[in-house]
């Protein structure tokens, strides 16, 4: 398992910077990747990001693979106008709950903020033996 770096370390700060640059370059694309568009908003040439920063790539995969309960998602609250950050309940029939009051005017910025929130929330040793729980015995990670 690749450790989750702390935000205040050089690794954490580097990843935050690259992630932000990639996210900013994707504004306007009907999609998103942590890659940098040579021309902002145009995916013709994309480089950097997860294709060149091995640690960022693996940390993002670790984050994406977290089980649904408590997972952060983006919710579009006004079509093409407003987005907010919410957290999944992990219980069928219980809707996601908003976790911040911040309203975004694009669908990329909340994805960056979620990256930062996860850096703060995930322990550095996430996934190592000290985190063993009963759910490991019945694949409660709910990967596909």
């Amino acid at each position: 398992m690749i450790p989750i770096p702390r935000r205040n370390t050089p690794d954490g700060q580097r990843m935050e910077k690259i992630h932000k640059e990639c996210i900013d370059s994707m504004k306007g694309v009907a999609g998103c990747s942590i890659l940098k568009c040579a021309t902002p908003g145009d995916t013709t040439v994309v480089t950097g990001g997860i294709h060149e920063d091995f640690q960022l790539n693996r940390v993002l995969i670790r984050m994406r693979a977290k089980p649904p309960a408590g997972k952060l998602v983006v919710v579009c609250t006004k079509v093409e106008k407003e987005w907010r950050i919410a957290r999944l309940a992990g219980i069928r029939g219980v809707p996601p709950e908003f976790v911040t009051d911040k309203v975004y005017d694009n669908e990329q910025d909340p994805q960056h903020d979620i990256f930062l929130m996860r850096l703060d929330e995930m322990p550095e040793t996430d996934g190592f033996p000290e985190h063993f729980r009963q759910g490991w015995k019945r694949h409660d990670d709910q990967w596909a």
Partner: protein, 799 residues
């Protein structure tokens, strides 16, 4: 926050001119709503595209209607109407159970006791339950007896209970089929009960639930039986339920597992023995009539249970032996029904308004647009389809309605931990997803697991399907998907001024070749992944006879689907079934022995494993998928072959084809198809453009293309992670053009349709729509070709 106060559905997907279509609307809050029929042209709100485009047509049903709340009574069960034979003084109840959610979270949407076999309502009657703590419980009026032992989930248990009114002795049995080394024994629980069984009139006997009461509200007419609310929906399998009218000994209970044997000259009673036959009230055998919505009673009264909300049948029973995998060959091993608390076959709402579609109505995409003065809004899409023989155009757009049903009300972003890994970014949910996340009664998609975690393999169109909506971006692509994505193509057809008809998957499934043969060209949607066998037959017959097929997307012709015949009386294609078997892209996986459809009995899974490779239908087949961003195509040398060079008139050889678009920002993206002559692409197929080498790490090779887990399968490394635009001729002047990417149609509206993808597609439509056979290829094109040895040296020399 209230997300969607107006929702609705229609009784039909496709309606003929001259026929009636009925609309069912839930309007929960606003006193009234406005309904207008609109022609749907573009549903994508992306500011980089043309935006939402709809046209009012001035239909006779346009107007303002009173709002009425309508609810869906989801959750499957079997019931028999109130009959005197069930109103007994003593009893024995027994069945096998395989519970999947015996104990639920207190916040779970249907937390509480679950009914197994019940004739119980409001503290009167009898029944076997799982209580709120997940323990087997016997109820005799308001007396409750439990073992106090939580049943193991996903395991078979035999449960039984008897009550002797004369002695007052009640006995409850819970016998797990599997005993692990450290499992404590579960002795039968005996209790003296001094009560005389009483009954609430009208209480049905229920399997997998119990009678929650009678309700005279207008909404409750949608429950079955109308006005009787079934509560305590059980999640899991039930096999061989029995009700007897006396308290049986444990030995007699064992014998009664044999059920209601049919009579013979030498053994003339229903039941395993003469003595026991006298007490049988009902003995259901779910292995008989698996393709029906009836639970057969083999007892003397023929109390066949009506099965509501289409639970999953053809499920292995407690006695499955692992030697036979087709329920038709050994039905006695398939005596289980898997009930789910979120199954829904038909919302059964009251009709809100109707439209008599005038003769002569243009065959197009339409929707009933519903709005309130407070800004509430919903659309109910439908399609006006000409009758066979009354086609209006040379071009048909085949609307992939089976695929729409497969994705109906999809919950993946909310449920699946792996969903974000798949899309490689943070999922974005919309109001439809938020509404569905707390309205599980609207049912899920065939991509979802039920609320008990088991695979969802049946989808009904008789319910609001909030994913078939304009202005809806799907979490998978952060852009339109399926219905709204197909409107990219519709916009382009309209913008370019083509006359076209629309037909649906169900039309092709039921009408076969007749549905297609009067068109010069059939154009698919962006993602026709889910198909019936008759539909694939029709497409093959069409192209073999000279028809032209334009395959506008990717990951098509993939899964085996069938419409459930038990619902044919409600219209065409009401419920579609699919099983996710041993390979393919599976968000859940069917259990061993559960690969055969309950409706048609055919083997489910991928068409590929039925001997029908995807690549054989239009020339290309699924290679990979990724959902972050899209890219563009480059032409290949084969695009200059005179067999196909006409398609590139006006397009420079070095142009970047489709480095723009409303899905991922490029024409090549999300799911990708390639030519593979070993997987069914005709050997003379030309690859005219490819996106090879340009995809991101998010794109991964499909699992059916490799035999073991290995590195090197992503878009930055694997040569088959690409999209091939391909062309091949079919006999009698027919042809197929495959554009091989789900994102492809998203490039068509770019720059108001003035772009090189639009040019390419226009060239193909113009050639394919002409009357008569296409011009034959040059004589030199007729050469022998292999499959693995695709391009032998002698052919190269000819070039």
């Amino acid at each position: 926050m209230s997300w969607m106060r107006i929702t609705g559905y229609a009784d039909k997907f496709g309606v003929h001119p001259g026929d009636k279509i009925k609309f069912y609307v839930n309007c929960d809050g606003p006193k009234e709503y406005k309904a207008e029929i609109v022609k749907m042209i573009h549903g994508d709100t992306n500011p980089r595209g043309p935006g939402l485009i709809e046209e009012k047509i001035g239909a006779s049903c346009d107007g303002t209607y009173p709002g009425m709340k309508q609810v869906i009574y989801s959750g499957s069960y079997g019931f028999v109407a109130d009959k005197p034979q069930f109103k007994i003084e003593s009893f024995t109840l027994q069945c096998w159970i395989w519970p999947t959610a015996p104990k639920t979270h207190p916040k779970y949407w249907k937390h509480g006791a679950q009914g197994l076999v019940t004739k119980w309502c409001d503290g009167k009657g009898y029944g076997l339950f799982l209580n709120e703590d997940g323990c087997v419980e016997l109820r005799i009026n308001d007396e409750k007896i439990t073992t106090g032992v939580q049943v193991r989930d996903h395991a078979w248990h035999f449960v039984a209970a008897s009550y002797d009114a004369e002695t007052g002795e009640a006995i409850l049995y819970h016998e797990p089929q599997i005993q692990y080394a450290l499992d404590p024994e579960i002795p039968p629980v005996t209790k003296k009960v001094s009560t005389k069984l009483a009954y609430v009139d009208g209480t049905p006997t229920v399997i997998a639930g119990y009678c929650g009461g009678l309700d005279s509200s207008p909404q409750a007419k949608a429950s079955v039986p109308a006005g009787t609310i079934i509560a305590g929906h059980y999640n899991g399998k039930i096999d061989s339920p029995r009700i007897c009218s006396k308290a049986l000994s444990r030995l007699d209970i064992e014998t009664m597992k044999l059920g209601g044997q049919t009579g013979l000259t030498e053994r003339r009673n229903s039941g395993p023995s003469d003595r026991l036959s006298a007490c049988i009230v009902a003995a259901w055998d779910f292995s008989d009539g698996i393709n029906t919505i009836m639970g057969k009673d083999t007892g003397p009264y023929l109390f066949h249970a009506q099965i509501v909300n289409c639970p999953t049948r053809a499920m292995t029973g407690h006695n499955f032996n692992g030697h036979v995998f087709d329920w038709k060959s050994a039905p006695e091993q398939y005596g289980a029904i898997h009930f789910h608390d979120d199954d829904v076959d038909d919302a059964r709402w009251a009709v809100s308004f109707e439209w008599d579609v005038p003769e002569g109505t243009s065959s197009k995409c339409y929707a009933a647009k519903l709005t309130s003065a407070d800004g509430d809004e919903d659309y109910i899409p439908f399609w006006v389809v000409p009758r066979v023989g009354e086609e209006q155009s040379k071009i048909a757009f085949m609307v992939p309605t089976i695929s729409y049903m497969a994705y109906a009300n999809e919950h993946l972003a909310n449920n699946a931990g792996g969903a974000e890994l798949l899309v490689y970014r943070v999922p974005i949910m919309q109001q439809q997803n938020m509404f569905l996340s707390e309205h599980r009664e609207y049912g899920g998609s065939i991509y979802d697991t039920h609320t008990d975690g088991s695979g969802l393999c049946l989808s009904s169109r008789l319910r609001p399907i909030l994913s078939i909506r304009p202005k809806y971006d799907h979490f998978l692509s952060q852009s339109p998907w399926q219905y709204p994505a197909d409107l990219h193509l519709v916009y382009w057809l309209e913008k370019m001024g083509y006359a076209y008809d629309v037909i649906t998957d169900e039309d092709v499934t039921y009408d076969g070749l007749a549905r297609l043969e009067n068109y010069n060209v059939v154009i698919t949607g962006s993602h026709p992944e889910h198909n019936s066998g008759p539909q694939l037959d029709a497409l093959h017959n069409y192209t073999q006879r000279g028809g032209r097929l334009m395959y506008m997307g990717a990951d098509a012709w993939y899964w085996v689907h069938s419409y459930h015949p038990a619902y044919d009386g409600l219209g065409r294609g009401v419920i579609t079934e699919m099983r996710r078997c041993e390979s393919g892209i599976r968000t859940w996986r069917a259990d061993p022995g559960e690969y055969y459809h309950q409706g048609t009995g055919e083997l489910g899974g991928m068409w590929r494993y039925r001997g029908r490779y995807l690549h054989s239908v239009a020339g290309t087949g699924m290679s990979s998928e990724g959902f972050d961003i899209s890219t563009y195509y480059s032409r290949t040398e084969e695009s200059n072959d005179e067999r196909v060079a006409w398609a590139f008139e006006g397009i420079g050889y070095d142009e970047k084809l489709g480095n723009f678009g409303l899905v991922g920002g490029g024409a090549a993206g999300t799911e990708l198809d390639i030519v593979d002559t070993l997987l069914g692409s005709p050997p003379h197929t030309l690859v005219v453009a490819t996106s090879a080498g340009r995809h991101t790490e998010a794109y991964l090779l499909v699992m059916e293309d490799y035999g073991f887990s290995q590195q090197g399968i992503d878009g930055t490394q694997h040569p088959r992670v690409r999209s091939d635009i391909a062309y091949h001729e079919t006999p009698n002047g027919g042809a197929c053009f495959a554009f091989s990417s789900i994102a492809f149609c998203g490039a068509l509206p770019w720059n108001n349709g003035d772009n090189n993808i639009s040019k390419l597609v226009g060239n193909v439509v113009n050639r394919f729509m002409q009357d008569g056979p296409l011009p034959p290829p040059p004589a030199a094109a007729y050469v022998h070709r292999g499959r693995a040895d695709y391009d032998p040296p002698m052919n190269k020399q000819r070039k």
